[in-house]
């Protein structure tokens, strides 16, 4: 009776899925690499076939604003890497979080979100969504009870980031998920900084994950993109989400949860948000992001190894006041990192069980704001730009750039001090990264004590 597992029954590892998931050979040509389906539209076989496609009675492609075979490979790839059920690609990370939330929110609804979110997200929720009649309460995420206290009867989503930016704080995803679920609402997690390699929020209780694929997923800094991921376990028929269970007004009477079950949310987001608001990913961009995703596991290990070495180097450097990196054992976030993030081989400490903590870290430079600006200008190959998650090491002084408009009080609230320098540690040779930091620190702090 006992049968050997056949091909297709194996639980493949992360690296195998990073290379293969979603991409079987092309059935017509046998092409092994994913073809770029650079087409707006797809022919119907007949009026009957067209009707079936429009009614969602069969799966297929109609128009690339709804779905595209190249984009679909990227969607399935990320869904697989997140141990999730389904995914929907968007034009950028901002488009992804907008799509994720508009799929379930309407005017009069309320969000509880971490106050330490990326500034662009604070703007989208706090200003953009408030114009649409959706209100957000921002809470200090270091105390999970703050989320519970802010929840109201009209709250329909709880929102946080696995690793914040630029505070580099780590969220206790399981604890926040418990709070959200006790109130019958889904937890939405931005997993951009950790990447699916270090953390799968759905395994910790999150229901929806969003990514800016522009960062680690792509890794090359060439291509904008975002993705919404559905875990597939949230009970959308709990009474709080009638639009998930009742006939859709936006898509001629389809009941998304009943018809599509554990990917009903993704279908709703695709048909009611992406199709009608239009912030979709282009096939060429999807292909470029797929090239990056194939090496995600290799790159993330290297980002983690390099970032820890940089953090340790900075900790003992006389011109550095403080270092904030959740991969340092004395970081207040180290225990959460250990609990939630994948172990990365080759990190010293913890008996070989050191968690990878991604590549973002901040430090305070002796001499404050003036030295911070001078440090940036003194770097030879560390790139001064407003992005993260590139293969290249990136550096920025938030107080004089991204957070320039804020006064001292607002800076303090955002967790940005005048002396703060943010590094997105790349995968160049670490000795070269350390050399550039050291010589730039020397030039920036000459004369300072």
């Amino acid at each position: 009776m006992s049968k050997q597992p056949q091909s297709g029954d194996r639980d493949y590892g992360f690296g195998t899925r990073a290379i293969h998931a979603g991409a079987i050979p092309d059935p017509v040509t046998g092409a092994r690499a994913t073809p770029i389906h650079q087409t707006t539209s797809f022919v119907f076989d007949s009026a009957e076939h067209a009707a079936s496609l429009f009614n969602l009675q069969t799966f297929g492609n109609v128009y690339s604003r709804i779905s595209n075979p190249t984009v679909a490979v990227f969607e399935e790839r990320v869904a697989s890497l997140e141990n999730a059920r389904a995914a929907l690609a968007c034009a950028s990370g901002m488009a992804a979080q907008m799509t994720a939330l508009l799929a379930i929110l309407k005017a009069g609804d309320h969000i509880v979100a971490a106050s330490t979110l990326y500034g662009g997200t604070v703007g989208q929720l706090g200003v953009g969504f408030s114009r649409l009649g959706i209100e957000t309460t921002f809470v200090d995420p270091s105390d999970v009870d703050n989320f519970a206290r802010a929840i109201r009867p009209n709250t329909r989503a709880v929102y946080g980031e696995t690793i914040g930016n630029p505070l580099v704080n780590v969220l206790d995803i399981a604890a926040v998920a418990e709070v959200a679920h006790a109130h019958g609402v889904p937890l939405v997690i931005d997993n951009t900084v950790a990447s699916p390699y270090l953390c799968n929020p759905c395994d910790l209780g999150a229901d929806i994950v969003v990514h800016s694929a522009t960062k680690y997923l792509g890794g090359h800094g060439t291509t904008m993109g975002g993705v919404v991921v559905e875990g597939g376990k949230f009970p959308w028929d709990n009474g709080k989400f009638p639009e998930m269970v009742e006939p859709s007004r936006a898509y001629h009477g389809v009941k998304f949860y009943e018809t599509f079950g554990d990917f009903g949310y993704t279908m709703k987001a695709r048909m009611e948000v992406n199709r009608t608001f239009g912030a979709v990913l282009s096939p060429l961009s999807a292909w470029q992001l797929l090239q990056g995703t194939e090496t995600l596991h290799l790159r993330m290990r290297e980002h983690c190894r390099n970032a820890l070495k940089v953090a340790q180097f900075l900790q003992q450097h006389p011109k550095v006041r403080w270092v904030n990196y959740p991969g340092l054992p004395d970081s207040p976030y180290f225990e959460l990192a250990k609990k939630q993030f994948r172990t990365v081989d080759g990190l010293p400490g913890e008996g070989g069980k050191m968690p990878g903590a991604s590549g973002i870290l901040t430090f305070g430079i002796e001499g404050g704001a003036a030295a911070g600006e001078k440090f940036i200008d003194s770097c030879e190959f560390l790139s001064h730009l407003a992005n993260i998650g590139d293969a290249k090491t990136l550096v920025i002084h938030p107080a004089s750039t991204t957070h320039r408009q804020l006064n001292d009080e607002e800076l303090a609230k955002a967790g940005v001090s005048a002396d703060m320098v943010r590094l997105s540690v790349g995968i160049e040779d670490v000795d070269d990264i350390l050399w550039d930091i050291d010589q730039a620190l020397d030039r920036a702090t000459r004369g300072a004590t």
Binding site: P5, Q6, S7, G8, D9, R10, Y12, T16, R17, H20, A21, G22, I24, P25, D26, P27, V28, G30, R32, D45, S52, N55, L56, Q57, T58, F59, G60, N61, S67, P69, A72, V73, E75, E76, A79, S80, A84, R85, A86, A87, L88, A89, P247, H252, G253, V254, K255, E258, T259, F260, G261, F263, T266, M267, R270
Partner: protein, 171 residues
């Protein structure tokens, strides 16, 4: 524990061998999930045998196929033409499954398939003991599209990893 492993190879085997499907609880309304699933399977080469007592009472048909009041009745009509029912696909409440399992056993079906949200351990045990393969809480359309192509176009994680060129087109 089910004897029918819920694996890609088992599901592929079931969907490859079961070509005639009695769809119990098939609705004549186009926007109902049962109609979605049956229409999809029909257009992918499967014979659909509708089982719906209300429609059968009026001598009606669904998707161009004559409707029957029960699986037994459907099996008798097919046997008269030299056919058989391979799979009983249930769009019914979980508590209504035991008598349906008996019908599936009596008609010699190979597989009892219970759709999304439908589960009945006692009925599943009984059908497996009688030699049927039993799948619970899965949609026949979604699994077909997952394993033979098409579902990935909707961004769903099919879990299919392969370097073999598919020998059928996914539509």
């Amino acid at each position: 524990m089910r004897q029918t492993p819920d694996t890609i190879s088992t599901l592929r085997d079931i969907l490859g061998r079961c070509r005639t499907i009695a769809v119990v609880g098939l609705s004549p309304q186009w926007h109902r999930p049962s109609y979605f699933a049956a229409k999809y399977m029909q257009s992918h080469g499967y014979r659909i045998v509708p089982v719906n007592p209300l429609v059968a009472r009026e001598g009606g048909s669904i998707l161009g196929e004559r409707c029957f009041a029960s699986v037994i009745e459907a099996e008798q009509a097919l046997a008269a033409q030299g056919g058989r029912i391979d799979m009983v696909d249930a769009f019914r409440k979980s508590e209504d499954i035991p008598p349906l399992a008996e019908e599936a056993i009596a008609t010699g079906a190979r597989c009892l398939w219970l759709q999304l949200g439908v589960m009945n351990e006692a009925a599943a045990d009984r059908a497996e003991a009688a030699g049927l393969q039993v799948i619970q809480n899965r949609c026949v359309k979604i699994e077909h599209a997952r394993l033979f192509g098409g579902l990935g176009w909707a961004g769903v994680n099919t879990r299919v990893i392969s370097a073999k060129r598919p020998h059928q087109l996914p539509y």
